[in-house]
Amino acid sequence: MKLIIGGYAQGKLNYVLEKYGAEASKIFDGEIPENIEEKRGIVVINHFHNWVKMKIAHDGCPEREIFEFVEKYPDCVIISDEVGNGIVPIEAFEREYRERTGRILVELAKKAEEVERVICGIGQKIK
């Protein structure tokens, strides 16, 4: 599994598509698929943070689901915004979302074989 992080609008998806080939990739936007029929190609999860937010809003357990998913699809690429670099939000839900997304990303980074931070479309390998 590879983890790609960075700020909003930094060209993360483009970076991934250029690196791994657009044709070969299956892109899921803010969604973790239950089952993937097509066995070829790389599974790309884009806007991962949106999926985490949606799960928390529906009282789900994004931690369990994503860790199971990466076990099942060890070749996937997960793309997420970094959302913790700001003022602590007034709303409790927003605070929980930031905190849990951060902690999930820390765990995914531990499991990942490679972590890259993308800024201005440029990937910086940090693991």
Binding site: L3, I5, G7, Y8, E82, V83, G84, N85, G86, I87, V88, A92, R95, R98, E99, R100, T101, G102, R103, L105, V106, L108, A109, K110, V115, R117, I126, K127
Partner: protein
């Protein structure tokens, strides 16, 4: 020796800071200077989480929500190290302690001066600070003053520090190296 560690919410900066100071303290007495004011259940939980994270690492905790210079009076003599967590709480506490907010200049000068003093009292000081700068929002005047104070304090601490480490998804990235 002083190390500044910076990261966002949930970045894993605290866990890294604790492991780091444990690794360099050896037999020295380790102090944890806690700056968080707890007023609700969420704060209670946060503190509990940090306490669990620290348990078994043999820290002596000093609660110091304002007036950092007083923290050294609570330490035993001898070789000692300290982990100060964190600048964002300390800055908020200093700024909003009174009826009206203190100015960013006064807060910045006070905190930096007190850290300078604290740094001379310990063999190694590790400071945890927050990246509160990248959400692109425009807040009310007071919050903007707070963000500027944080930025200025981080800048001055980074200048004073022997090394600066940014923690990103739990991964430490050295942005100022002590060997440089």
């Amino acid at each position: 020796m002083m190390t500044l560690i910076i990261g966002g919410s949930g970045s894993g900066k605290s866990a890294f800071a604790e492991d780091y100071i444990v690794s360099l303290s050896k037999e020295k007495k380790k102090y944890y200077i806690a700056t968080m004011q707890v007023y609700d259940e969420e704060g209670e939980k946060k503190m509990e989480r940090h306490r669990t994270l620290r348990s078994g690492k043999d820290f002596s905790t000093i609660e110091q929500t304002v007036d950092l210079k007083k923290s050294t009076e609570k330490m035993e003599a001898g070789d000692r190290t300290a982990l100060l967590e964190c600048i964002s709480n300390l800055t908020a506490n200093e700024m909003f302690a009174g009826e009206v907010p203190e100015t960013e200049e006064v807060v910045t000068e006070k905190i930096v001066k007190e850290i300078e003093t604290l740094n001379k009292e310990v063999t190694h000081l590790v400071i945890v600070s927050n990246n509160v700068f990248e959400d692109g929002q425009v807040y009310d005047k007071t919050t903007m003053a707070y963000i500027r104070a944080m930025g200025r304090i981080n800048e001055m601490l980074a200048d004073m520090a022997d090394e600066v480490v940014e923690v990103v998804v739990g991964i430490p990235l050295v942005i100022k190296s002590k060997n440089a």
